[in-house]
């Protein structure tokens, strides 16, 4: 689905990704774990073309094409979705209006009929209810004054409505209460199918109890230093990243 090959990237003058390789398979849930500051968010920004990150070497192949030269909106329209670790607040822009525009852009891109305002409102209401969000999320401004957990649920809402093909969730489980973690996980599980790939970046094994990942990757110092099955989490929890570092 996506093949990340030998990526070197820097932010400003600081080199952060140092020859990172990662292959994301269709229909699978991949998890990345790794110490603070190791480059997890930088990797996700590189995938969506964030202006902070300069990729100096390597390629990211998606559907057989190197996407590094394409614009962020083009990547999005082609099915790449990222939920930021800290979603930005945009006062004045209505949450529903924003999301409908995003969906309509995608439908236009795919040559489909655009969902009209009434249909969209219905869709939005359904999802808001399903995710246990407050009904006023429909009329409020995008992430404006949302609590941490509300922002994360809003990201899941976007994911469910936009139906992307590659979904990157950067610490979607941080700051969630117990119920929210469950609802968000259910949302993730609803997305899982044979055509889609999920990449979940996390520090905690709790979410993994709900979403049953296929692969665990350990990112350290700008590289994937280890890949394994779900059992790898146990080792990490018991021995920490230090242990992995030693035996690799």
């Amino acid at each position: 689905m996506m093949n990340i090959k030998n990526i070197h990237a820097k932010i400003g003058d600081k080199v952060i990704l140092k020859g990172l390789n990662l292959e994301l398979e269709k229909g699978k849930i991949h998890v990345i774990m790794g110490p603070n500051g190791s480059g997890k968010s930088t990797l996700s920004k590189a995938i969506v073309g964030h202006f902070d990150v300069e990729v100096t070497e390597g390629e990211i192949l998606y559907k057989g094409k190197n996407i590094l030269e394409t614009s962020p909106e083009e990547r999005a329209l082609n099915g790449i979705f990222l939920s930021f670790q800290n979603p930005v607040e945009i006062p004045g822009v209505n949450n529903t209006y924003f999301l409908r525009t995003a969906l309509n852009e995608k439908e236009k891109h795919e040559g489909k009929k655009e969902t009209n305002a009434a249909e969209f409102l219905k869709l939005m209401r359904q999802h808001v209810e399903q995710l246990g969000m407050k009904p006023d999320m429909i009329s409020r401004a995008l992430n404006d004054g949302f609590s941490g957990g509300e922002k994360k649920r809003n990201e899941i809402l976007q994911m469910e409505i936009l139906q992307p093909e590659i979904i990157i969730l950067d610490e979607i489980d941080s700051g969630l209460d117990i119920d929210a973690l469950k609802t968000v996980s259910e949302g993730i599980n609803r997305m899982k199918n044979t055509e889609r790939t999920l990449l979940v970046i996390t520090h905690y094994s709790r979410i993994l109890d709900y979403i049953h990942p296929d692969y665990i990757h350990v990112l350290q110092d700008g590289q994937i230093i280890k890949t394994g099955g779900p059992e790898l989490v146990k080792t990490l929890e018991a021995e920490g990243y230090q242990a992995i570092n030693k035996d690799s």
Binding site: E73, A76, L77, L99, E105, L162
Partner: protein, 477 residues
């Protein structure tokens, strides 16, 4: 990076910058008594008007241009301007209107023909100095509403014009008002009789077409007791290298329990990135809330002048009268806007609200200047002002100059100001959801202006949004 692209989008061309070649009667450049007599003659004015013009000219000659506004421009050579230009064929009905003039309005998207007037908006179109067409006057007449050009009003309703002209903006109020008093060529006159609610939106479109001309229109609106009217004006001009002068005066008189809602959508040619060309827009707009419970609401969307100097104001004389000012001012390229409002509280329990949204991009300079004055016997007076600035990029500026003056200890005056920047993270968030950069900018800008747009009549809100898109995004192919 992102900013360059935003600048590119902002630098797009002015869509309304076409010139229409119309045979016209134009006065030779220069300003003197004989030019004023020429104007009076061409407009078939009564003698008293010619006399007023000449008095105004002599007063103006003794006045000095003031330069306190936060704007910079080369001195204007008032003798090089032509003060009158009119399409040669004098139009009486739509059939007589020069086809090219109609074409010009069609290009502006302004429907003049009766059959296109289904929206129920009565329009007075002013092309250069002459009112070419007033629609719907028949239907309005039945209610006793007068909606015509000011020249026509001078002939048909001289007593009203003589009573109210200069009653709110005195002849020598300021340099540009005095100039206007001498040379004003046309404008709109509205009278709403007692107890009448005007059944449709009234609109005037101003178009500066001829070269080297100035436009000096004068608008006078009187809302008699218990009446209501919503009036809209739109403006545009062709793209030219030289600067053109627009010095208008608007006077509103509102009697007891009456209301005037006055909306302006302004889209003059802004000039280029270096500040070459474009309209100098020096306008005096003032309304008098004369009676109790009267109300004036000014809403303006200013996208395009080279220089704007404009402070629609309210004199709140009647007890319980209300003044409102809602403004969106956009400056991009090298535009300078110095705009705001004055609220003068004279009556008891008078209230005023000021919402000003300034958007600056590229090298644009946006200044808000607001005066709120409360007189000593205006007990219970209240004012709320909110002034927000949105900066796009780093070459532009926003300045806020609130002046508050209260002579009554009980008066409540509140002022809030914010400045925000469209930041790259916000733009990126939208783009990363598949929304193009220009739509992303427009989404954020529209969000910023929402409160003001909500004040505009529906059709004009749509127009205002499109205008903002044009100014800021380059949807032009």
């Amino acid at each position: 990076m992102a900013q360059n692209q935003v600048d590119k989008i902002l630098a797009q061309d002015y869509k309304l910058g076409f010139t229409v070649y119309v045979e016209s009667d134009t006065a030779p450049p220069g300003l003197n008594e004989s030019v004023l007599r020429f104007i009076s003659l061409k407009k078939n004015e009564p003698q008293w008007m010619t006399d007023i013009r000449i008095i105004a000219l002599h007063k103006w000659e003794k006045m000095k241009e003031s330069h306190w506004a936060h704007t910079h421009y080369k001195p204007i050579d008032y003798q090089s301007i032509s003060y009158f230009s009119a399409p040669k064929k004098a139009p009486n009905s739509l059939d007589d209107v020069d086809e090219k003039v109609l074409d010009a309005y069609a290009k502006l998207g302004i429907p003049l023909e009766e059959q296109k007037m289904l929206q129920g908006i009565a329009i007075d179109a002013i092309f250069d100095s002459v009112s070419v067409k007033t629609t719907y006057s028949q239907a309005l007449q039945e209610k006793g509403i007068i909606f015509c050009s000011i020249s026509e009003a001078m002939r048909e309703h001289p007593q009203l014009v003589q009573e109210y002209l200069f009653s709110v903006v005195p002849m020598t109020d300021n340099y540009f008002a005095a100039l206007n008093s001498a040379v004003f060529t046309d404008g709109t006159f509205v009278y709403i009789p007692k107890g009448v609610r005007c059944p449709m939106e009234l609109s005037t479109y101003f178009r500066i077409n001829a070269k080297n001309t100035g436009q000096f229109e004068r608008t006078l609106i009187i809302a008699d007791e218990g009446s209501y009217v919503s009036y809209n004006e739109g403006c545009s001009a062709p793209q030219r290298d030289e600067n053109q002068l627009h010095a208008a005066v608007v006077e509103l008189i509102v009697k007891k329990n009456a209301e005037i809602k006055y909306s302006t959508i302004q889209n003059w040619y802004p000039g280029d990135e270096e500040g070459k060309g474009g309209i100098y827009n020096f306008v005096t707009k003032r309304g008098l809330c004369e009676g109790e419970n009267s109300k004036i609401s000014w809403t303006q969307v200013e996208t395009d002048s080279s220089i704007t100097w404009k402070y629609p104001s309210c004199i709140l004389k009647g007890d319980n009268s209300v003044g409102e000012f809602y403004s969106v001012a956009v400056t991009s390229k090298a535009q300078q806007a110095d705009t705001g409002t004055k609220m003068l509280h004279l009556g008891k329990n008078t209230r005023s609200t000021i919402i000003s949204e300034g958007i600056s991009a590229m090298k644009g300079q946006n200044s808000y200047r607001g005066w709120v004055k409360v007189a000593s016997n205006a007990s219970g007076a209240r004012n709320f002002s909110q002034c927000d600035s949105l900066l796009i990029g780093s070459g532009c500026g926003a300045h806020t100059f609130p002046y508050l003056e209260s002579h009554n200890a009980q008066a409540q005056i509140e002022h809030e100001a914010t400045t925000s920047k469209i930041n790259d993270e916000q733009l990126f968030y939208l783009r990363q959801h598949g929304i193009s950069e220009e739509n992303a900018v427009s989404m954020i800008v529209h969000g910023f202006c929402k409160e003001v747009f909500a004040q505009l009549p529906m059709e004009f809100a749509v127009e205002a949004k499109e205008l903002l898109n044009l100014t800021l995004e380059g949807s032009v192919g």
